[in-house]
């Protein structure tokens, strides 16, 4: 954690990235620590949630949020603790969850500055992961967008990542017939089956992804939860079962592409298979997070959900942490601890 000074170290967007984030893209600079006005609280940022979507906000391209402006602090979720308060909502010592940005200090207040006070006893790792964006994305993507049915053969890519690892576990607990993860390398595959309890894992870095998936889902894929796009999406589209559903959650294989990438040739398979493919943004489900969080919290308390955080230490390593999501260096949720 940073020293408590009147300074505020922060990562600002210096240029639009081409490919992975590098020193042309973001710059660590020092601003002034903000002073809380009436109705605001000052909070020291403790953890950053490192999510693939941050990379998409860096491009100057329309998306579900405006792009981060050049010179602005990099946008991102995190947890901060209140050190000074002029607000009735936030008390000194409260842990707050919200859009902290990649910086040491943040103001919580009304409107866009609003942050959520974490209930006592919630572990910050779990708050960012299972009960945070990843858990909510897995839950609503699988159960609402994907309309998972008991007995479904569910396949999820980036299965050793934060969201993917939860998708498979929720699917299992909600009665999926078979849960198959796609991950990169034998260690991750072993973790997905042995620790997370998926029925099978397929290594996309090995040869023969299509054949391996066909062995695992002999009747076809009822629900494919896609975190990666590109070639893996294409293979899964080619193996959809009748009335199969493809949940488009993310496309990490594309976010650093410097040229437009072709889409999946097997898209046309949606016609004879009566398949459905649907994209979503978890923010749309915000009003319905609470019951999902309660069920997930109960499963965690019972030890029925495993979660893992890959902790990177120091604000200065935030860009490196983001790049891990695309190189596949992480297992579980990447967080930066300040």
């Amino acid at each position: 954690m940073g020293e408590l000074t009147a300074a505020n170290r922060r990562w600002v967007l210096a240029g639009r990235p081409r490919g992975m984030v590098d020193e042309q893209t973001v710059r660590l600079d020092t601003g002034e620590r903000p002073e809380p006005d009436t109705g605001q609280a000052l909070a020291a940022v403790r953890w950053l949630s490192i999510d693939p979507t941050i990379r998409t906000w860096m491009d100057d391209r329309p998306g579900y949020m405006p792009p981060i402006g050049l010179g602005e602090v990099v946008r991102g979720a995190g947890i901060a603790d209140v050190t000074d308060s002029r607000s009735d909502r936030y008390a000194v010592g409260d842990l707050l969850y919200g859009m902290t940005g990649w910086q040491e200090w943040v103001l919580a207040g009304p409107g866009e500055q609003s942050m959520q006070v974490l209930p006592a006893g919630i572990e910050p790792g779990a708050a960012l992961n299972v009960l945070g964006v990843n858990g909510m994305t897995a839950w609503f993507g699988l159960l609402e967008v994907g309309a998972m049915q008991a007995g479904d053969c569910v396949v999820v890519s980036a299965a050793a990542g934060a969201t993917g690892s939860l998708v498979g576990q929720i699917a299992r607990l909600k009665g999926a017939g078979r849960v198959v993860g796609i991950a990169g390398g034998p260690e991750k595959c072993a973790w997905v089956t042995d620790t997370l309890g998926f029925d099978a894992a397929v290594d996309y870095r090995a040869d023969g992804l299509a054949a391996a998936l066909r062995r695992q889902c002999a009747q076809g894929i009822d629900l494919y939860f896609d975190n990666v796009g590109g070639a893996i999406l294409d293979v899964c589209l080619g193996q959809l079962a009748m009335r199969g559903r493809v949940v488009l959650c993310g496309a990490i294989s594309l976010y650093n592409a410097t040229e437009p990438q072709p889409g999946p040739a097997n898209l046309v398979n949606l016609i004879p298979r009566r398949g459905r493919m649907e994209g979503f943004i978890i923010l749309d489900y915000r009003d319905r997070f609470l019951p999902a969080q309660m069920e997930l919290a109960a499963w965690m308390a019972d030890g029925r959900i495993v979660h893992a955080e890959h902790v990177v230490h120091g604000l200065e390593r935030a860009p490196e942490a983001l790049n891990m999501l695309f190189s596949g260096a992480n297992t579980g949720k990447v967080v930066v601890e300040l």
Copy 2:
């Protein structure tokens, strides 16, 4: 119409096509005219419905129906009239609609041989087109799969084709906000606006399809009814409105491809736009055809629906008629009159 002899001229599948259908693919031969058994009727085929899906059945590839076997009569819908009956269901003189195949004579009977007796007074062109597969495909694709809402900006490709021309007209009659057709060449575009009453038509053969569509749908495309796949699908995906829907009906730009074609790069746009893309096969809606047919028939009687048939004369020209669908030589529904 063929001479009534004991012979049965018929097109059989001679080989798997590469690209357009040619003399390597289909062979006109002569079999014996079948004799009706108890429970069967013999009918003389009068009209063939020429549909893009026939081309997909010729490939040796899993689809929504088994491929046509080598040496088998080419599968296809049509209208035939009963000349001899040993069935209680079919009387001499009845016009029957069903899977006649590309031949002069067909047996109607129980089970798979079942055919529908057309009510008196229905014009055969309308039966094959508005009240047949094209009308049903347009209706259920637009209203059920696409869940069209009043006020939607609806775009349809192959708008001068049988299905596309009905999609736009049904959309207009059901309260779409704006109906835009995509068609090839100025004549078809003029027909789509002036005769069919679409709000606008865009010529995909001219430069600047994306810019032209953006002008026509300034707020984005709420519903894109896709008959073609390929590059046009890609452009429309790039211009989806929030919660836009893409109905995958067919992909005529791909059916004659001899190499796998890349899918649409703009697929990833489904995520920020919360878009949905869904394929369907009209056979699944068979039990619900009647009310749709009644509404369409009423509109036709009131002159509120325009339909056009492009009639090709002679069984021997059936392969040429099929190829027209892919070269774009037709306006409206292609039928072969025997």
